[in-house]
Symmetry: C2
Subunit: 114 residues, 2 copies
DNA sequence: AAGGTATATACCCGATTGGCTATATAATGG
DNA sequence: CCATTATATAGCCAATCGGGTATATACCTT
């Protein structure tokens, strides 16, 4: 599984996004993270493992607690990928590009159309 | 399914990200989009439906072709969500890492807290 | 109307996901 | 040691996913 795959897949779940949002404020134990959700502790642990495998959190040790801390670097990489689309969502010059792209595609494949 | 859920889930697949990347250059038909992949046409159509349901593409009509066009607004929303973490991945929000220099600190894996 | 081309749909399949309960492990405090 | 607390693991289940093939549909051309 690609790095970006894992990052975006991890972000596709609202529980996991909420956990990350909580971790902006600082480290938290599993119990603390589980508290807002109507969900069993093992389910939260599973979500945490997904986040950890995606490199979005790391875990420490504090007595029997395993505090989670945010690791935002993969979010930066996801952001880098998204950046390439910024021009598109900020301005609406899809139409122009569409025209250019279609003309080039025609040249490349040499098909019969129009 | 939440809007962000659908967006991130759509982005979690490398085929779909490659399709979006292709669409930056402009509209493309299903056949054109399928060409780079060792994958059947129905599978590509499935991916396109995922992208369409996430609002990431829209489709037109050109004879028997159904050209796909990039719709980047959901990417902007995903970006908005990620923005809240920018300070964190740009460094220093993590107490000691700020002092040590975030770049090298990534090497050592086992440091827990403070 | 027939045939070709582009795309969609239906269905099958194995793998993964996201939830659960029950139980195991880890570390602490008495 | 023992009990308690915090967390992880195992196994179950239904749903979804991502691929496939076969077939249907839509539109154009002749």
């Amino acid at each position: 599984m690609n790095h970006l795959d894992a990052t975006f897949a991890a972000l596709a779940d609202p529980t996991r996004r909420a956990i990350l949002a909580r971790l902006i404020e600082g480290e938290a134990s599993v119990m603390e993270l589980a508290e807002p959700f109507a969900m069993s502790q093992p389910s939260i642990s599973k979500h945490l493992k997904v986040l950890e495998n995606a490199g979005l959190i790391s875990r420490g040790r504090d007595a029997q607690r395993r505090p989670c801390r945010l690791e935002a670097r993969p979010l930066g990489e996801a952001n880098d990928w998204l950046e390439r689309y910024r021009k598109v969502w900020e301005g609406n010059f899809q139409r122009l590009d569409a025209l250019l792209g279609a003309m080039q595609a025609k040249k490349a494949s040499g098909d019969a159309e129009q």
